[in-house]
Amino acid sequence: MNIHPKPLIACRECDLLQREIPLSPGETSCCSRCGATLYRCSPDSLDRTLALVLAASLLFIIANVYPILSIEIQGDRNATNLYGAVSALWDQDMRSVSFLVFVTTILVPAIELSMMIFILLPLRQQRVPAGIPLLLRILQSIKPWGMVEVFMLGILVSLVKLTDSSSVIPGVALWSFGGLTLMLAAVATSFNPRDVWAHIKTDNAQGAVK
């Protein structure tokens, strides 16, 4: 049974049934009908991703603890960090909006980063922790709701809006958010869930089609 054909793959976007082809490192295979990316070959992607995720987690903590911006009008100063902004909105009876901001800028990135550490750290030691399929599925479904990069642009727009009425002092968190945006983009490009799936054995072989 050494000569079985390459596994079947169906395009996520147009459902075209195709056979996988071997790739050299750095190559990407695309659907022959609609051009969607099917899979990538990136050796060491898991190690690299883990390093990036750890760096991103550190920046995430800094970004949440320190103030983002502070303003000064006629000697009066005020500063806010992300959680302060969320709770200020909550106190203004904008609970749904405050909740939305909390989920997209704090909760989802925090869950994403901690789940990735939980998945990648044991894999490095050649252990496959239980419940990885569930974690990967959750990771995939919450991904669209992490919006750190949009929030970063929001900080910049606020900065410009404030400069003509008051003096604005960028806080430590502003720089950390900038770094976090870059780190998360790097994580997204380097993380290849396919490599994790490859570690997971298929339960009942008859269900999978060769």
Binding site: E13, L16, D76, T105, R137, K161, R194, K201
Partner: protein, 211 residues
């Protein structure tokens, strides 16, 4: 590029939306599960078109209050203003921040409108089993998914300003109820885009080739 071809669905096969494994979608009773990750599998997202329409119509309805109601109130010693999304953009333009004004205009006005129109177009074309430009329509769907999140920009700006500009009597900023409607539009259109199944675009082509 070949426009037709054998789809997994027409062979009774189904690729797992979570892990991508192709398996037989055989289940007359109950639901089929992926043999590798145990996720529920469907040949097409269930009830995709109906759910997408429902979310989209709700988004259309909220689109009006989102644009007509006040999103931000600014008060200071010298003046008091209420801004809708559009008047905020105009104000930025008048005060000379053209680049930022253009960014906010694109993120808050163009992107939501583009999403609503694009999803409507996709739903209508799928309903009519159109074989018209499937590649371009798939690309359109990818764009909708890619740009959707950026409409949250104004919500974040209001959040930051409302928390920061709280210097008693000198200057205060409050979020307006327009922000609730606007946030709802963003969330509803994002869910609508997720419910839509781009494989439906290609189904009429597959069926035609089989005849």
């Amino acid at each position: 590029m070949n426009r037709t071809g054998v789809s997994a669905g027409s062979m009774g096969l189904c690729s797992c939306h979570a892990c991508g494994l192709v398996s037989r979608a055989e289940s007359i009773f109950g639901t089929a599960h992926c043999p590798r990750c145990d996720a529920r599998i469907h040949i097409r997202k269930p009830d995709s078109v109906r759910r997408c329409w429902a979310l989209l119509i709700a988004a259309y309805i909220l689109y009006l209050p989102a644009n007509l109601l006040t999103i931000m109130e600014t008060g200071s010693l010298v003046n008091y203003r209420k801004d809708t999304i559009m008047s905020g953009v105009v104000h930025l333009w008048k005060t000379g921040s053209w680049a930022i004004s253009a960014i906010v205009f694109i993120a808050s006005i163009i992107v939501p409108l583009f999403k609503l129109i694009a999803l409507t177009l996709l739903l209508v074309s799928v309903k009519r089993r159109s074989t018209w430009w499937p590649n371009q329509r798939t690309r359109l769907y990818r764009m909708v998914e890619l740009v959707g999140r950026w409409s949250m920009l104004d919500i974040y700006v209001v959040t930051i300003l409302a928390a920061l500009v709280q210097i008693h009597s000198l200057a205060t900023v409050r979020a307006g109820s327009g922000a609730i409607a606007f946030g709802a539009v963003v969330v509803l259109t994002m869910f609508a885009a997720q419910e839509f199944d781009p494989r439906l675009i290609w189904d009429p082509l597959t069926k035609e080739s089989e005849l």
